[in-house]
């Protein structure tokens, strides 16, 4: 087992390195003069030169890349500025180390992800379960119809509609503001409510459909029939013999979806003006702040790849049949 985990972690490192290299290539080599891009809009020729110098952009690619990598572990000097480990780069437009920019915004993205995840899991799984048990009834048809609609609405359209209706017209919610939970829990909650709902709707509908089809499959299984023949109580049958088997694939999908969200929900954060990783990515792309873009890409890839490993390990924990094989 430990060999397996070590092997997977090795794979994680390899993929992250590949992502790193690829991103570096794209950003630092694709544009004709990266220093100009990195410097930003208000720039002087001297600054461009100093950036080129400090980042070593005239050096061979591998040397540049190596300096970037070693900087992650040992810290790096950008001219007179020292960026301590882990140094994921330095933004010459905001004059901050990228790492501090990321850590400042990560909590927002995590809050968005966790809140949405709770909502969509509850709504999706329960909705799907009810639909499956009441298959063919009015309840099922309406639920699935709504789910189809929810899956088809682009989240920015939903975000704009909700904002228009709830904030502008009905005025029941304020525009989201950057207030921390400790300072004002109510405003904090109101600020996050719409982003949570918008993000959750698409996933909830997806999970409802998925849960429904998985549970319907489970209800057709022989062991479900056995459970009924044993005279077990309805709740016990639902819990152990209908829902539990259906949830295994959903858990793994959820792991991947959640890991993806940790890297920032770009569109949702942008539309609602939340200062998370997603918005940071969007803003940096608009400003051509390459070091930040690179770091955000790397962070998002990190979550996804680690999430992949966690999910696979989780699967062996969840499905006894797989456990024995991998042991």
């Amino acid at each position: 087992m430990t060999r397996y985990i070590l092997g997977r972690l090795g794979g994680v490192v390899v993929i992250l390195l590949a992502v790193c290299l690829f991103t570096y290539l794209i950003f630092f080599k694709l544009s004709p003069d990266p220093a100009v891009m990195i410097c930003g809009k208000t720039c002087t020729p001297e600054r461009i030169d100093s950036i080129r110098d400090v980042l070593g952009l005239n050096q061979p690619l591998l040397t540049q890349f190596w300096e970037f990598l070693s900087g992650i572990f040992a810290g790096r000097d950008y001219g007179s500025v020292h960026c301590s480990a882990p140094c994921l780069g330095y933004s010459f437009q905001t004059n901050e180390s990228v790492w501090s920019m990321l850590t400042a915004r990560l909590p927002v993205s995590i809050t968005v992800a966790v809140g949405a995840a709770v909502l969509w899991l509850l709504a999706g799984v329960i909705g799907g379960l009810v639909s499956a048990v009441k298959q063919g009834t009015w309840w099922d048809r309406t639920g699935m119809g709504l789910a189809l609609g929810g899956v088809s609405v682009p989240n920015y359209v939903l975000a704009l509609v909700l904002q228009y209706v709830l904030v502008v017209k009905l005025q029941v919610l304020p525009f989201p503001s950057a207030v921390s939970f400790v300072d004002n829990p109510l405003v904090w909650f109101e600020s996050y409510l719409m982003p949570w709902v918008v993000l959750a709707v698409g996933y909830a509908c997806l999970y409802a459909r998925l849960t429904r089809s998985n549970v319907i499959d489970t209800l057709a299984e022989n062991y479900y029939r056995t459970a009924r023949a044993k005279g077990l109580s309805g709740a016990l049958i639902m819990r152990r013999h209908a829902l539990r088997p259906a949830l295994t694939p959903i858990t793994t999908i959820f792991g991947m979806d959640f890991a993806g969200l940790l890297g920032g929900a770009l569109i949702t954060e942008t539309v609602f003006g939340l200062n998370g990783i997603g918005k940071l990515a969007a803003d940096s792309i608009a400003k051509n702040d390459q070091p930040v873009i690179m770091a955000v890409t790397l962070l998002a890839a990190f979550f996804v790849v680690v999430g992949n490993v966690v999910v696979d390990l989780l699967y062996t924990a969840l499905d006894p049949r797989v456990r024995v094989v991998s042991a």
Partner: protein
């Protein structure tokens, strides 16, 4: 975000269990008859036919409606009020069937029609490219195993690890505006094919171990024949289902990218870009938001409903 969840959902539905039989896929005729009998599906087909018609015959349609997508009609907007269209509902009139865009007075109907062209061509091309890449690479990996499989699987892992949206935006924004639609198709497909390939790979591996493949080989069939005559026909169901359900995802992705400003370059019309422009106007001219939004929603919805029905039919065909 838009592409991934739909494809993963389809993956889960389509991936065969250990006892999945390789039976003849549902025939095209059966799919057609079932769909024509279902009112909901029929409505979707009708709507999609309209959209496709818009896409294909855009120049002709706009000639009939009277305004092109790039023409400015300053008479239709009230420049004193900052560019708000004259008349109710965003300026709907006999001359401008869907009204006009605020500020520049462009005919909304024409822009919707040309936007349909963008959505349909990009999503269909992306689906085609993704389909080809996904099926070919998936089959290669599943059939030959060994180092071919290793290389392709690592490549898939690599691409799936990338935060696709961020990357797409970054690439698209750093490259010059040159052939945008082609670039969009390439970028979207580059991140889309691994999801199809993963399913195809799994199914190819299962199928390659089946007795009928062994039998074919025993009769002297070469690799290429085995692949095309024995394995590919049995993959038809999965391919149809996954590509059909990928189309609405790609439409959403293109619209999303255009919404963020990195899709097709203005002044080319795109529904996503129109929605983005409409944001600053939605309190005074909600129709500018509602019309492209509704078209986008209904198109994705119709495709998803149809894709669902096709998936049910394919599953039933396999289960029969």
């Amino acid at each position: 975000m838009t592409t991934t969840p739909a494809l993963i959902e389809v993956e889960e539905a389509v991936s065969p269990g250990p006892s999945a039989p390789a039976t003849p896929p549902a025939s095209g005729r059966r799919i057609l008859t079932t769909i024509t009998r279902d009112k909901g599906a029929l409505a979707c087909v009708v709507f999609l036919a309209i959209v496709v018609l818009m896409a294909v015959a855009a120049p002709l349609i706009t000639k009939i409606s009277g305004w092109g997508p790039y023409q400015f009609d300053s008479a239709a907007i009230n420049s004193d009020l900052g560019g708000v269209p004259h008349g109710a509902l965003g300026g709907i009139s006999g001359s401008h069937w869907f009204g006009v865009e605020p500020q520049n007075g462009r005919d909304l109907f024409a822009r919707i029609v040309y936007g349909a062209r963008v959505s349909i061509t990009i999503s269909l091309s992306a689906t085609l490219l993704t389909g080809v890449l996904g099926v070919v690479l998936g089959m290669l990996a599943g059939f030959y195993r060994g180092w071919v499989d290793q290389v392709i699987s690592r490549l898939m892992d690599f691409l799936m690890a990338f935060p696709a949206l961020i990357f797409m935006i970054a690439i698209l924004s750093s490259l010059p505006s040159g052939n945008r639609p082609v670039l969009l198709v390439v970028v979207i497909s580059a991140f889309g094919w691994p999801y199809l390939a993963r399913v195809i790979r799994g199914q190819t591996m299962t199928l390659a171990n089946r007795e009928f493949v062994e039998a074919a080989r025993a009769c002297g069939a070469k690799d290429a024949q085995v692949v095309f005559r024995e394995i590919l026909p049995n993959l038809r169901g999965s391919i149809v289902v996954m590509t059909t359900l990928a189309i609405p995802g790609f439409i959403g992705t293109e619209a999303g990218l255009s919404f963020l400003g990195v899709g097709v370059a203005p002044p080319t019309a795109s529904w996503g870009q129109m929605i983005s422009s409409s944001v600053s106007w939605y309190s005074v001219d909600p129709m500018f938001f509602a019309i492209p939004g509704t078209f986008l929603f209904l198109t994705v919805l119709s495709l998803t409903v149809l894709g669902d029905k096709i998936r049910t039919l394919v599953d039933q065909g396999a289960a029969a």
